[in-house]
Symmetry: C2
Subunit: 300 residues, 2 copies
C-alpha cells in the first residue's frame, strides 16, 4: 500500500498557516519526498512523516519555494544519525545547486547521490516495486512533473492452490509469477492459482507549470493526480499563463481528460487565503476534486 | 524608544513549537534583524515584525540554524516590492556564503550591500542615533556577538528655557546640544536648559559561544543582555564547553559580572523542551533572568 501525504500546499512564500508545497510518498517503510522548501522539515514532522524513512528526494525545479529547505533537511538527517545514502533527483544543474546551498552544511555523515534528469531522455528509477518517471513541464525554468507507480501482484487464491495439492512453501513463488514443479512431477503454472491481475497504483504530481499537452498521457488513468492550482478565480487566466501556472479549472480539465480517479489541488498562491471559495470552478469539470490542505493523506 | 523582540529562541533544528533563534530590534521605524535561520521569515510575521522596516541584517555565524533562511527572506523582501538596499553584516566569508545561498534567488529588485567583519578591527555601524558594535566569540567557527546602543538626548526643561526668554523655535537646537544666540544678543548654553543627561540604551546579543572573558566588558551595564542557554542542566557542562555553548548558569554569571539590568536566555537545544525546569539555576545567580520564548518583547 502506498501512503501519500501533502505536508504543505502553499506556493511562493511560506505562510503562518500554510507550509510550502511538497509531497510525501511512503511504500513499505521507504519514502520519497517531492520538493523541500523553507520549513518543509517542520511540515513533515507535523504530518507525522518520518525523516528516517526518506530514501529519495525529487526536486521539481530550483525556485526557492521548492528547494530552500534543502540544507536544513540534510543537516537534520545528519543530526539524527543517518548513514545510508540519500538520492536526490532533479533538473540539470542540480549538482551545482546542491553544492551551493550546502555551503552552510559542508560536512554530512552520509553520502548524497545526485542525479540530473535530461529533458528528452526517458528513464525510470526503481525503489522495490515502485517506479519513478518524470515529465518535462513548462514554467520558464527546467521543471519536472513526477509519476510514481507501484506494481501490484495479482490476487493469489490459496484455496485453489490447496485443491491442487500445492504445499504452502510454494505459495510465495507462485504468487510472484514463477512456475513450480511439485515432488510428484506435476508442473503448476501461476495462472492456475491466481484470481485476478491488479493494475498498478499510480500517482502523478505536477507543480509548477502551465498546462502542457503531454501531461494528459503521462497522468492517464492515475489513481491520484496532484496538480497545482495557483488561483481559483477564472479572471486570473492571463496572469497564470504568463507566470507558468494553472487555475483550479485547468487541473480539473486535466483530471477529466486523463480519466484519473481523483484530483488533489495544491500550491496555492499566498494571496489565495480561502481556496474553498473556488472549489466549484473545479468540481463542475471534475467532480472528484479535493482541495489539498496541509496534512491531507490517503492510502492507495 | 528601542523595541526588542525574539521571534525565535531555538537552536540547531527548527521545532514545531519553537522557531530558530533570532532577534529583532526596531528604532524609529527602522529595524535590525540578528540571524535568519530556516523559518525566520514566518517567525517574524507571527511576532508582528514588519519586514518592510528591515534595514540591517546581522549574521552571528554561518551555521545553518542562523542563516539558512536567508534566500527565502531576500526573495520575500523582493516580492513585497523592496527597492531600498539591504545591508548584511557578518563574519569573513559572508560574501561567498550569500552568493552561494542565493543561487536560488539570483535576481533581486534591490541592492544587497555586504560587509565582512574583521576579528581584531574595532568598527561601528550607525543607523540614526543607533550604533552597532561587535565582539568576537568562541564557537569553533568565526562568530560575533553584537551590541546595539541608542544615544539618548538629555532631558530638556522647557520651563527653564521660557524663564530665560528663549523662543520655542530655538528649543530643538538647544536640546540637540547647540549654543543659541538670541536677538537681544544673549548667548544660551544648552546646559542651562537641561535637567539631566541620560545614559544610552544598550542591548547585547550573544549566540553561539562558550564563555569568553571579553563578553563582560562588552556587555557592561547593558539594559538587556540576551545570551544563549543551550542547556539548563549543570551536568551538561563538559558537553557544552566542547560544543562551544553555554548553560543557563553561564549566562546568569555573565549578567551578574557585567552588572546588566536584565537577562533573557535564548537558543535552547531542541532536546530542551521544558527550559522552565532549570530557571532557578540562573535566578540563583542573577535574579532578573527571564527565559526567552518566541515572541517575547520589550520596549526600552
Amino acid at each position: 500500500m502506498l501512503d501519500v501525504c501533502l505536508p504543505g500546499t502553499g506556493g511562493v512564500v511560506p505562510r503562518e498557516d500554510r507550509w510550502l508545497a511538497c509531497c510525501w510518498l511512503e511504500y513499505k517503510g521507504k519514502a520519497i519526498l517531492i520538493d523541500c522548501g523553507e520549513g518543509t522539515q517542520i511540515a513533515l514532522k507535523k504530518s507525522g512523516c518520518k525523516l528516517s524513512h526518506l530514501s529519495i528526494l525529487l526536486i521539481t525545479h530550483f525556485h526557492a519555494d521548492h528547494i530552500a529547505g534543502l540544507p536544513g533537511l540534510l543537516l537534520t538527517l545528519g543530526n539524527s544519525g543517518r548513514k545510508t545514502p540519500l538520492i536526490i533527483i532533479g533538473p540539470k544543474g542540480l549538482e551545482k545547486v546542491v553544492q551551493s546551498l550546502t555551503v552552510i552544511a559542508p560536512i554530512l555523515p552520509y553520502v548524497v547521490k545526485i542525479h540530473e534528469l535530461e529533458e528528452d531522455k526517458e528513464e525510470e528509477w526503481n525503489m522495490d516495486e515502485l517506479t519513478i518517471s518524470h515529465l518535462s513541464l513548462s514554467h520558464g525554468v527546467p521543471c519536472y512533473g513526477y509519476g510514481i507507480t507501484v506494481k501490484r501482484k495479482p490476487v493469489f487464491n490459496p484455496q485453489k492452490a490447496c485443491e491442487l495439492g500445492v504445499p504452502k512453501t510454494a505459495f510465495k513463488m507462485l504468487h510472484e509469477g514463477l512456475t513450480v514443479r511439485l515432488e510428484d512431477g506435476r508442473t503448476i503454472e501461476p495462472e492456475t492459482v491466481i484470481d485476478e491481475k491488479r493494475d498498478p497504483i499510480r500517482v502523478c504530481y505536477f507543480t509548477d507549470t502551465k498546462m502542457v499537452k503531454t501531461m494528459k498521457d503521462f497522468a492517464y488513468g492515475a489513481d491520484l493526480l496532484i496538480s497545482e492550482g495557483m488561483y481559483g478565480e477564472e479572471n486570473k487566466l492571463d496572469e497564470m499563463l504568463k507566470k507558468g501556472h494553472m487555475l483550479f479549472s485547468h487541473s480539473a480539465q486535466l483530471a477529466k481528460d486523463a480519466v484519473v480517479k481523483r484530483l488533489w489541488i495544491t500550491h496555492y498562491s499566498p494571496a489565495l487565503t480561502k481556496p474553498e471559495r473556488y472549489i466549484e470552478n473545479a468540481r463542475e469539470i471534475f467532480s472528484d476534486t479535493t482541495l489539498g490542505y496541509d496534512g491531507i493523506r490517503v492510502t492507495l
